[in-house]
Subunit: 157 residues, 3 copies
């Protein structure tokens, strides 16, 4: 049995505290057999760790790191509504990832940036982490974040 | 029991007519235990009441008003597939709000704008109105609208 | 009984091969009673057939053609997780279409562009093809694509 909590431990990763919402909403919500997360920014220790456009102030590789950090925050939010990291074993599938990449107008490789999140989710969740995805170029994101990313997951009843 | 129709009445708000779709789609759809709404513009009396970019032609406070108007239209669409305002009592949860804010390139506070919708939804639906959310900066929106906003809700069987 | 496979045959359309994902994700996923597709680009024979902004390098009518091509790819992806074109008869409803249109800053008619997809889906799926929709203006899309479009469908158990 693939156990995401064990994979995270093997990676030496502890789930961070769930980022504080920037308004009147919640980080994640379990309703029926779906969990939605809010759009996550590349926040670390309460600060947006990656700002600026990929293709201008940021390299694609920094963008991918930002996307992975967003995914880490999204998984922390997911775990928070499943009773902690051990609850991640109830994830049957990461269904959908939406990744918005703040982009220079001539930067056209959003897929490589969002892959920072996708590849990491596949590593953590195994086959259950293989999701559908939208990778989009954003004009501007909250707090000048380089990436904003949200998840939908299906949960075992 | 929190009754959204009563809250709306107490606010002195009648649900507006559902905005006419701008093409071959429907304003809202109930399928299984979910209702999706289409992207709603800040339409009032058939006209887009807020146009232009926040941080340029529009203040954040006008943007928040636009977001609230989008949410009002989204709730009207929701009610239209639940048999009218009284049907809103079947909403178990507003699951997801996606808010796109037409932004100047240096405007970075989309969360405050979309909060115009989020806070209003929490007022109307109470605990059941607390949702997950994406707040995004848009380059351009249909009809030069300041905000476009869509909802997903979960409905009692 | 409305049979999408027959409609496609009557249109003289064969479903194309599902476009190869641009990273660590899957083109479509059936989970529970929902199928999600990834964001589809206007790919034909492995190449992005429509690039550039509507309102600048592309006319609205070319944009609509691009959107229809995205929808064709999305339906191919849908069919691929339903056992082929005949499996499309299990689609109870196209629930949600999200269309991102790479736009010049003064191009405000994204709905007409995305209608290239919406009208075609209604033709293929009949009443079951009438969906909710977001039409958005994008700053930049992967591979300089003119449109990116994703679907969510509900499937008969």
């Amino acid at each position: 049995m693939h156990d995401p909590a064990r994979v995270l431990a093997d990676m030496g990763l502890a789930l961070p505290p769930v980022p504080t919402p920037l308004g009147a909403y919640v980080p994640a919500l379990a309703e029926g057999d779906l969990v939605h997360t809010s759009g996550m920014l590349p926040v670390r220790d309460g600060l947006v760790a990656f700002t600026g456009r990929v293709g201008a102030e940021r390299t694609p590789s920094e963008g991918a790191e930002a996307a992975r950090l967003c995914a880490l925050n999204a998984v922390a939010a997911l775990a928070s509504v499943l009773g902690g990291p051990e609850g991640l074993i109830r994830v049957q599938r990461i269904v959908r990832v939406t990744g918005h990449v703040c982009s220079a107008p001539d930067f056209l490789d959003q897929p490589t940036v969002v892959d920072g999140a996708s590849a990491w989710l596949a590593a953590v969740f195994g086959e259950r982490g293989r999701h559908t995805r939208l990778a989009l170029g954003a004009y501007v994101l909250p707090r000048n974040a380089t990436v904003e990313l949200a998840l939908v997951a299906r949960i075992a009843p």
